[in-house]
């Protein structure tokens, strides 16, 4: 174990990143060493507390709409192109009046 940071091992174990053999050896060590078992429990608890403390609401519909409008406006100014879809096909006759065809 010399040279290996115990915190690194605890972290890898808590995150399920130890290979199966190493994980079962670690569990045996935990069984014999209450201090190690406690470190694992504390790491798990801290992780959960952090997740709970930083749980945030997602954006509201209003915020989302505002963001969408601003982003699309900038994209439009900067040359992104849109293909507009209409229910029927449109034609532009010579008098300039748009009318639906193929209804």
């Amino acid at each position: 174990m010399k040279g290996i940071d115990p915190m690194l091992l605890v972290g890898l174990f808590v995150d399920g990143e130890l290979p199966a053999e190493a994980a079962s050896a670690f569990m045996e060590l935990m069984h014999d060493d209450p201090q190690l078992a406690r470190a694992v429990e504390e790491a798990r608890e801290t992780k959960e507390m952090l997740k709970d403390a930083l749980a945030v609401e997602g954006p509201t519909e209003e915020q989302k709409e505002r963001a969408r409008n601003r982003i699309l406006a900038v994209a439009f100014q900067e040359g992104f192109r849109w293909r507009y879809h209409f229910g029927g096909q449109m034609e532009l006759p010579l008098d300039g009046q748009l009318k639906l065809i193929n209804e």
């Binding site: 940071d5 952090l50 403390a53 954006p59 982003i71």
Partner: protein
């Protein structure tokens, strides 16, 4: 064999070719995740809204830099992360949200506040991996890419960060444990 021209274009290809409708897909796919990330980083929904919009605008301007859809997630998070770091530098005193969601017990609300305060006292080197890996649930590889560090360095910071947070919280946890014990004793006596 399918011809290359018949394959559907990837999101990155559509964005790079200036396809406006690809922006809608891009927005719908990532807006909420990026908003939640910037909210957690900045601790404030108004700043998060600004930072998220700015992230998307910067991403659209530089969408030629990203090569594949697989790289899109960490590339976008990296832009958001850098923006948040800049904002935090400009306003190091972050205001905590005054109200916690309705329906939470006082104990839980107090714990949440203590954790947030303890987190703000930690060095950024610890905070960023904690938010990305433990809260945002980004993979270690992606988090390392976002932060521009190696995976072992990320893990080392993550585990040290958890330990440092735990140390800062130990007094709070101890106090709360004692209070809970007192409440239990009171309840037992009253019965």
């Amino acid at each position: 064999m399918t011809k290359r021209s018949e394959e559907p274009k990837t999101l990155v290809e559509r964005l790079s070719s200036g396809d406006g409708e690809a922006i809608e897909d891009f927005f719908n796919l990532y807006y909420e995740r990026i908003f939640k990330y910037t909210y957690r980083m900045l601790n404030n929904p108004a700043d998060a809204e600004d930072a998220t919009q700015e992230t998307f605008i910067r991403a659209l301007r530089r969408c030629g830099d990203v090569r594949s859809d697989n790289a899109l997630t960490h590339w976008l998070f990296r832009i958001a992360h850098n923006l948040c770091v800049d904002k935090r530098r400009q306003q190091p005193l972050v205001e905590l949200p005054p109200d916690l969601p309705i329906g939470q017990s006082e104990d839980r609300a107090a714990t949440r506040l203590s954790v947030r305060q303890a987190l703000m006292e930690l060095p950024a080197d610890y905070v960023d991996p904690l938010i990305l890996c433990d809260v945002q649930e980004v993979t270690a590889n992606e988090a390392a890419e976002i932060l521009g560090i190696s995976v072992p360095a990320l893990k080392s910071r993550l585990y040290r960060g958890r330990s440092a947070l735990r140390q800062r919280l130990s007094s709070v946890i101890g106090q709360q444990g004692e209070e809970q014990e007192k409440k239990k004793k009171k309840r037992r006596k009253s019965k």
